[in-house]
Every structure is written in structure tokens, then in C-alpha cells.
């Protein structure tokens, strides 16, 4: 088959997500690693001589300082509380992003309203799962009702707006869905909205993730307290991580299946040529509706998980910035692909962490490299060359580290799109093509 390294022996094999043995092993290893990541696993007990400098490198240093110091291996770094929550956030956002990818990446219906559907999910979750009081509505139902319920409610709202949405194209749709975000936040100000989402600017406590059969006292599986699972001691944060990881894998699997099956092709066809698609037998309205519904479902569930992660729901959290973050995820990862979406989510969530780590490292390091670079770009506002201000108030024209974090997010979007409009996935394809010399020899 045209000089490709991967030879398939059957269409069945070719249709698998991980179609070769190498891919299967790598994927299994990766997933296993993700499951082990939050735990401390002592393995190497002696220090490796001559590797002290590794600890000086940001991010990596965190990893190596452990393995060098106490002989705790690489995977320990998530054991630090400050990495666990961001990784959990990655899983939660990935679910939402996968949904948006089906709507915007695959079906080409660009939506800036994803945050709104997440909000709908979060509100439904708290309505179904939360406790009621004189100022608040709540039914106190168990998680297996409120989590899917969050998705379903988002789908229903999605269906209500779809008659307008399906008619619109391109940026018109983007802006109308943007309007949904504003409308959604506004609903939190109505007398009935605040009974669900809690008062504006204060919010409301979110139901816990404990898995109960019904409303009984003792949960079937306790997720909200530290405890023991099998032979591991697991903290509540680690439990939540594992729960979110399992959900993220399940949703990724579903998303991938939709994309690679009949429905996915129909959606792509509509994205590329809508009239032609219709003439080829793909009913446009129906499939746009399906795309909207799937995307809303993912968003709704993710929204509930979002609020559960904060332990609290706040209408303002589901604003424009969140929607923009999703668009950035899709574009940075590479729209239309499941793996790109996952990578993109990781990237967007983790970038600020890395930036912070690096500035901190620069600020502290005195060494030949770190020290000089640090001196060049950091300043305490005393008028030297630096552009990153280490103090919190920013006299003059320099920005503080914290501002830089936001600026960098913006700059990253810009630079990424300029350099590689196809996103990380595009870079990956290019790299792969160099090796495969595809499709022509050069």
C-alpha cells in the first residue's frame, strides 16, 4: 500500500483507534501512567551522582529534585497538591472541549456559547443534587441522576436555541452564541435564577461527588473524604482526579467514535460543503441538530464537573473568557481531531503554570544561565531593562508577572495561529510527514 510503514491486514484492524501494536502499547502505558500520576511510588532509593544540576531546571527540576533527593521517581510530581488540581481541571475541560470539537471542529459550527451550556449543566446539577432551603431550590438527588441530568438539560436548552442556530452561518453564529453567554449570566440576576445558581458574587455550595444509590447517609463510594481504595491511601483530591480521569477517557472514547463513524463523516461533509452534502443524502438540519445536542451534552456534564471541582457554583464563572479558552484549545490543539483537542486542553491549562514556574526560577536562580537571563528580563521596577516586573504594583511601563501570565495567554494564541494555523496537531503531522515522506518523495 504505497510504501507506508503501517501495513494493515484487514479493514477491521485499520478501523481501530490504536491500530498497531506499538500504538496499543504506548496508549496503554500512557493511560496507566495517568492513573498512577497522583501517587507517590518509592522506587529508586539511591541518589544518582552528578545529576544535581537537573534540580535547577524549572518544572523538570521539581520532578528531579525528588528522584535525586529522596529517590522518589518521576511520577511523584503530581503528588504535590499544586499539580493535582490543574490536571483534574484538564480532564474536566477536556470533556467540554471534546464536545465543542464535534460542533465546531468537525461540523464547522463555530460556537462562542460553550460556557453558557456548561453553565446550564452546572445549574441543573446543583438544582438536582443540591439541598433546598428557603432561598434556594434543590432536590438532593444522587450523582448518577444529577450528572447525566446536567448533560440532558443542556441538550434540551440546545434544542430550544437550535432553530436560530441552524439557520446561521460562520461569524453570525459565533456572535449569537456569544450572546447566549451574556444572557446566561444575566439570568443569574433574575429572582428565580438566583434561587438555582445562588446569589450573584457569592454563589452556592455544590453537591459532593459521592456516589450514592439514593439519598441515604453513607455513600456507596466516598469521593469527598480521604480514605482507602483497594490497597492505596487516597486523598479526596486524588479520588476526584481518578473520577475525572475515568470520565474523561470515557468521553474521549465516545467523541472519537462519533467522529470516525457515519455521523462524524456526515458532520464533516456539512462543514465542507453543505448543499453538496444534502444532495449526497445528508440532511443538514438533522445533523446540525445532532452536533448541537452532542456538544451541549458534553458541555453540560463538564459544567457540572467544573462546579463540583470548585465545590461551589458561581454564575459569573461561565463567562466569555471560558468560551474563548475553548476556542483557543481547539485551535492550539488542531480543530477537528480528538487527540489535538486533548493536547490543546493540556497545553492551555498548564501554560500559566509553566510560566509561573519559570519566572519564579529565574527570579531565584543565580547561576550563569538562569541568573543572567533573569537579570535581563526581570526588574523590580527601578528602571532597568527588564520587562517583567517582580513587584505586584507595576510602576512605569512594565507588567507584573501576573499580568504577563494573561498577556502570554493572548500572545500564545496569536503566535500559534500565525506560526502554525493547524495547531499542535498540524505540527505533529508535519513532523510525521518528514519521516514518512508523504505523499510524494522529495
Amino acid at each position: 500500500m504505497f510504501g507506508r510503514p503501517n501495513l494493515y491486514t484487514s479493514y477491521e484492524q485499520e478501523s481501530q483507534i490504536f491500530s498497531t501494536w506499538t500504538q496499543k502499547v504506548l496508549a496503554a502505558f500512557g493511560i496507566l501512567l495517568l492513573f498512577l500520576l497522583p501517587f507517590d511510588i518509592p522506587a529508586i532509593t539511591t541518589k544518582i551522582p552528578g545529576t544535581g544540576w537537573l534540580a535547577d531546571i524549572p518544572v523538570l527540576g521539581r520532578v528531579f529534585s525528588w528522584s535525586i533527593g529522596d529517590g522518589i521517581p518521576l511520577v511523584r510530581f503530581l503528588g504535590d497538591a499544586d499539580w493535582l488540581r490543574p490536571m483534574t481541571t484538564v480532564f474536566m475541560l477536556a470533556i467540554a472541549a471534546l464536545g465543542l470539537n464535534i460542533l465546531s471542529g468537525v461540523a464547522g459550527q463555530v460556537s462562542l456559547g460553550h460556557a453558557f451550556f456548561m453553565g446550564v449543566g452546572a445549574c441543573t446539577g446543583v438544582f438536582l443534587g443540591g439541598e433546598s432551603s428557603e432561598a434556594l431550590y434543590g432536590l438532593g438527588l444522587p450523582i448518577w441522576i444529577w450528572l447525566p441530568g446536567a448533560g440532558i438539560a443542556a441538550v434540551l436548552i440546545g434544542i430550544i436555541v437550535s432553530p436560530v442556530a441552524v439557520k446561521l452561518r460562520g461569524l453570525y453564529l459565533a456572535i449569537v452564541t456569544l450572546g447566549l453567554v451574556f444572557v446566561g449570566i444575566h439570568l443569574g440576576n433574575t429572582s428565580w435564577g438566583r434561587k438555582i445558581a445562588g446569589p450573584p458574587a457569592l454563589g452556592r455550595k455544590y453537591p459532593e461527588l459521592d456516589i450514592r444509590l439514593w439519598k441515604e447517609e453513607d455513600p456507596l463510594i466516598n469521593v469527598s473524604d480521604d480514605g482507602r481504595w483497594l490497597w492505596f491511601d487516597v486523598t479526596d483530591a486524588q479520588k476526584r482526579y481518578l473520577l475525572y480521569l475515568v470520565l474523561a477517557i470515557a468521553f474521549a472514547f465516545v467523541a472519537k467514535n462519533i467522529i470516525r463513524s457515519r455521523t462524524g463523516r456526515a458532520l464533516q461533509a456539512i462543514r465542507d460543503r453543505d448543499i453538496a452534502a444534502e444532495v449526497m443524502g445528508v440532511p443538514e438540519f438533522k445533523y446540525k441538530l445532532i452536533a448541537f445536542a452532542i456538544s451541549s451534552f458534553f458541555a453540560g456534564v463538564a459544567g457540572a464537573l467544573f462546579a463540583a471541582l470548585s465545590g461551589q457554583i458561581l454564575a459569573e464563572a461561565f463567562g466569555l473568557f471560558l468560551s474563548v479558552e475553548f476556542i483557543a484549545i481547539l485551535l492550539i490543539g488542531g480543530a477537528g481531531t480528538t487527540s489535538g483537542t486533548l493536547i490543546g486542553t493540556f497545553f492551555v491549562v498548564m501554560i500559566p503554570q509553566f510560566v509561573e514556574e519559570i519566572t519564579k526560577w529565574l527570579d531565584k536562580s543565580e547561576g550563569p544561565i538562569g541568573g543572567t537571563v533573569g537579570e535581563l528580563i526581570l526588574t523590580d521596577g527601578s528602571g532597568d531593562l527588564g520587562v517583567i516586573n517582580t513587584s505586584t504594583v507595576t510602576p512605569g511601563w512594565t507588567l507584573s508577572v501576573f499580568d504577563w501570565n494573561i498577556v502570554l495567554f493572548g500572545v500564545l494564541i496569536i503566535v500559534f495561529l500565525i506560526v502554525e494555523p493547524l495547531g499542535l496537531f498540524g505540527i505533529w503531522v508535519k513532523v510525521r510527514n518528514y519521516w514518512k515522506r508523504w505523499p510524494f518523495s522529495y
Partner: protein, 350 residues
């Protein structure tokens, strides 16, 4: 006779909604004509500001087929330039005093300074275009739109945190003064906004009938084909962005004045004027100057009238309901016309 088929339902709905609204307004007008007049003028003023911002959107859209989400940040930046030149009396980003401010009577120095501020705005537009938009010639349009979202984030941080945009006065000579006509108080800045909007509209309208205007549209529809006609796509982009930034700046200046704000000063919220004006652009049609003008006025009227006459209902409407009135009007408009009132429908044909 109107047949009742799927396309007509929204139209009938619209007519059905308009009739009681009109009756209600007529009653109000008879009840308290001065208040009605005052509200009307205020609404027109807000509409004019929306229209100015919307025109900026349209200009950039017509050349690049993208919505410039950074328009709000550009508006705030423009207003900041004025504040620097007028209130702080020095050239932005330097300590060099602004010599123009002392020329002639106060209003002349002020006017000249504003002119310079607009030039700065144009330069900012040019720089942004050159660095971030030009490399995207020939790339997917949606990517460009998202770049402008990135720009919005960056510019906003610079506006708010570096400059510390906390109520920086623009020192407009007429302040929030005004005159009373028929019992209704009219701010001078409302009149100024209306005049400016009309002038800008006429300018843009005629520009689109010129050869360069047509070239601009050609670029928007098919960049490659436009290049093949010898149109310098880069130049067209530059013109559009410079003009768009100037319109944004003008909009930004008015956004600090009555009826939008009372303080006459830039604040972080000034940048939000663009998001408030977006429904006007969409309602009018993303690529239509006429649409921008009419869309702006319609949305402005709806927002102010709803704020004035439905104030008693704010419990179930939700506090602050005027913010979403523009979006509601927009959605109803789009139900009737998916490309806005005057937008060019995409050619869909096999």
C-alpha cells in the same frame, strides 16, 4: 397577502410584537412628552455611539471577513490617547509635553490634540495589522478572528494594568453639559455623537463605491483571486485596520460621554462598549455600512426605551436587563433575516 409558511412565522411574530410595543410607546409619549423626548434623544445618542463602533467592525469585516474582537480594546486605547494628550498634557508613553494643548482657545487645542490621538490610534491599528494580521493573509478566516480575540486579551491588560485606567478624564470642553428643549434635557455630546455618526456613515458609504472600496470587498471574498488582479492585499488590510482603529477610537471617546457614561473619563469598562455594540453589527449585517447605522440606532432605541419604560418589571426580567436587550433584539432580527437586515448573503450554489 402573506402566506403562513415556515419563513413567514418569525416575521409575523415580529409584527405581532411590534404593534403592542408601538401602542404602549404612543401612550407614554402622550402621557409625558418631555420624558419621552428625552428618552428618545438619549436613545438616539446611544444608537449613534453603537453605530460608530459598528462601522469600525464593518470596515474591518469588509476587508478581511473577520470580526475584530479587539475593537473594544482599541476603543479604550483611543480614549486613553486623548486622556494622555489632554488631561495629562503629554505625548503617550513619554514625558514629552503636548505642545498642541496650548494653541489658541481651549477648544482648538483640545480638538488638535484629539486629532493627534486619532493618528496615534491609526498607527496602533497599523502596527497591530502588520504584526498579527498580515502574516495571516490566505489563512482560514476563523483563525484570524481568534487572533483578534488574543489581541483583545493582550491590549486589555496593557490598558487596564499598565496604564491603570482608573477614571482618566478626557476633559471634553462641553463636559456633560447640555441644553433643554421642550422640557427635555439634551447633552451636547449626544448631538456630537449623532453628527459624527452620520458623517462617518456618509464617508464609509462613498468609500465603498470607489475603486479601492470595491477592491477591499474583492479581497474579503477571495484573497488569492484579488491578488491575481493586482490588488495589494497587504495595503488593503492596512487601510481597513487603520480606519477601523480610528473609528474605534472615536467610538471610545463617545463611550465615555453621556448618554453612555456620565464621567467623561476612561475606565476599564470603556472597552466593553464593543461587546455592547456587537448586536448592532449583527442585526444590521456584518458587511453593511447602512446596516451598522440602522442596527446601531435600533439597538440603542430598544435598550434605552426598555430601560426607561420597563424599569418596574425588573424583578422577573432580572436586574440590569437592559444589557441583554440588544442581544434579544439581535436574535429576533436574525430569525427574520439570517444575514442581518442589510448583510450580503453568502452565495450558496452548486
Amino acid at each position: 397577502m402573506i402566506r403562513l409558511d415556515r419563513d413567514n412565522v418569525p416575521l409575523l411574530f415580529l409584527i405581532g410584537a411590534l404593534i403592542p410595543t408601538t401602542i404602549f410607546l404612543v401612550i407614554q409619549a402622550v402621557n409625558d412628552p418631555a420624558l419621552f423626548l428625552e428618552t428618545l434623544i438619549k436613545a438616539l445618542g446611544l444608537g449613534a455611539v453603537y453605530a460608530l463602533i459598528a462601522l469600525g467592525f464593518v470596515l474591518i469585516f469588509k476587508a478581511t471577513q473577520t470580526v475584530n474582537f479587539a475593537q473594544g480594546a482599541l476603543a479604550a486605547a483611543g480614549a486613553l490617547f486623548v486622556s494622555f494628550l489632554v488631561a495629562d498634557e503629554h505625548i503617550p508613553f513619554t514625558t514629552v509635553p503636548n505642545p498642541l494643548i496650548n494653541i489658541g482657545p481651549e477648544w482648538l487645542g483640545w480638538g488638535l490634540s484629539v486629532l493627534v490621538a486619532l493618528i496615534f490610534a491609526a498607527l496602533l491599528g497599523l502596527i497591530i495589522e502588520r504584526i498579527t494580521i498580515r502574516p495571516m493573509v490566505g489563512e482560514p478566516l476563523f483563525s484570524v478572528a481568534v487572533i483578534t480575540l488574543g489581541l483583545e486579551i493582550v491590549l486589555r491588560v496593557f490598558n487596564n494594568d499598565t496604564v491603570k485606567t482608573e477614571f482618566r478624564a478626557l476633559e471634553i470642553p462641553w463636559g456633560n453639559g447640555g441644553t433643554t428643549v421642550g422640557g427635555a434635557f439634551i447633552n451636547y455630546s449626544v448631538i456630537a455623537a449623532l453628527i459624527t455618526a452620520v458623517v462617518a456613515f456618509v464617508g464609509v458609504f462613498f468609500f465603498y463605491r470607489s475603486k479601492t472600496g470595491i477592491a477591499m470587498r474583492a479581497v474579503a471574498f477571495d484573497q488569492e483571486a484579488a491578488m491575481a488582479q493586482g490588488i495589494n492585499v497587504g495595503r488593503v488590510f492596512a487601510i481597513a485596520w487603520a480606519a477601523g482603529a480610528v473609528l474605534a477610537a472615536i467610538g471610545g471617546i463617545f463611550a465615555t460621554q453621556p448618554p453612555v457614561k456620565q464621567t467623561g473619563a476612561v475606565e476599564p469598562e470603556t472597552a466593553n462598549i464593543a461587546f455592547r455594540a456587537l448586536p448592532a453589527v449583527i442585526l444590521g449585517g456584518l458587511d453593511s455600512a447602512t446596516g451598522a447605522l440602522l442596527g446601531g440606532l435600533i439597538v440603542g432605541l430598544a435598550e434605552i426605551f426598555a430601560g426607561q419604560y420597563a424599569a418596574g418589571e425588573s424583578d422577573w426580567l432580572g436586574a440590569g436587563y437592559p444589557v441583554i436587550v440588544p442581544y434579544i433584539v439581535m436574535i429576533i432580527g436574525l430569525l427574520v433575516r439570517p444575514y442581518g437586515l442589510f448583510g450580503t448573503p453568502e452565495i450558496r450554489r452548486v
